[in-house]
Amino acid sequence: MTRVLLFGRLSDVAGWRERAIDPPPDTLAALRELLRLEAPELGRALEGPGIQAAVDRALVLGDVTLSPGAEVAFLPPMSGG
């Protein structure tokens, strides 16, 4: 099972903030594809400028392998203060 978290405007686009995906995709690219097929608008938003991905709470670049229990978060541009 892969746990997927969306933050900021991404959760508004998707209509959800957190969900479990089972069976778990093997790679981040496979997860992106699965989300895109299910919800094209979210798929496009995830590819948008400034969107970062974190796997098990570490930022990743490009595609990576996902362990079966991975936590994947998609992060829009950060804006604190």
Partner: protein, 149 residues
């Protein structure tokens, strides 16, 4: 110390506590960021975080600030959840031997919190809600510390 809190906090109380027992500190700098009403249009700001990931990211640039500016101590409080206009969103306190290090360290931390901490800000206004992304100025403010290093 880094705190992410879901409730209002007293910046004055935190500053007084930070000033106590500082016989080797020559300077304490402080910054308080407040929620603005934007002429009555903003009802509340909503701040969202990614729990431990957010805390770890802030801790990493707090460690960088400590080393770079020879800071003796840091206290950051960042509020999460719904924040009405006039309430404090963020408090940054730095202690150092001399003023320049305390002031620059505080400035560095605020710039990094603005666009590099895993926080997302939504404006709930009379005209609807919208997510606020960092401005070009915010990004340039954080980047100037790289150019200067």
């Amino acid at each position: 110390m880094i705190e992410l809190v879901e409730h209002p906090f007293d910046a004055g109380h935190a500053l007084n506590a930070f000033l106590a027992r500082r016989s080797e500190t020559g300077a304490v700098a402080s910054f308080v960021g407040l929620a603005r009403s934007e002429g009555g249009w903003t009802i509340a700001l909503e701040l969202e975080a990614y729990a431990e990931f957010t805390h770890a990211g802030i801790a990493a640039f707090a460690a960088a600030a400590t080393e770079r500016f020879k800071l003796q101590d840091i206290h950051i409080i960042h509020r999460l959840g719904a924040i009405p206009p006039g309430d404090a969103i963020v408090l940054v306190l730095t202690a150092a031997t001399h003023r320049r290090e305390a002031l620059d360290g505080c400035d560095f931390l605020v710039d990094h919190l603005k666009s590099r901490a895993a926080l997302w800000k939504k404006d709930h206004g009379r005209a609807g809600a919208r997510w606020i992304e960092p401005t070009g100025r915010d990004l340039a403010d954080a980047a100037r510390w790289e150019a200067a290093s």
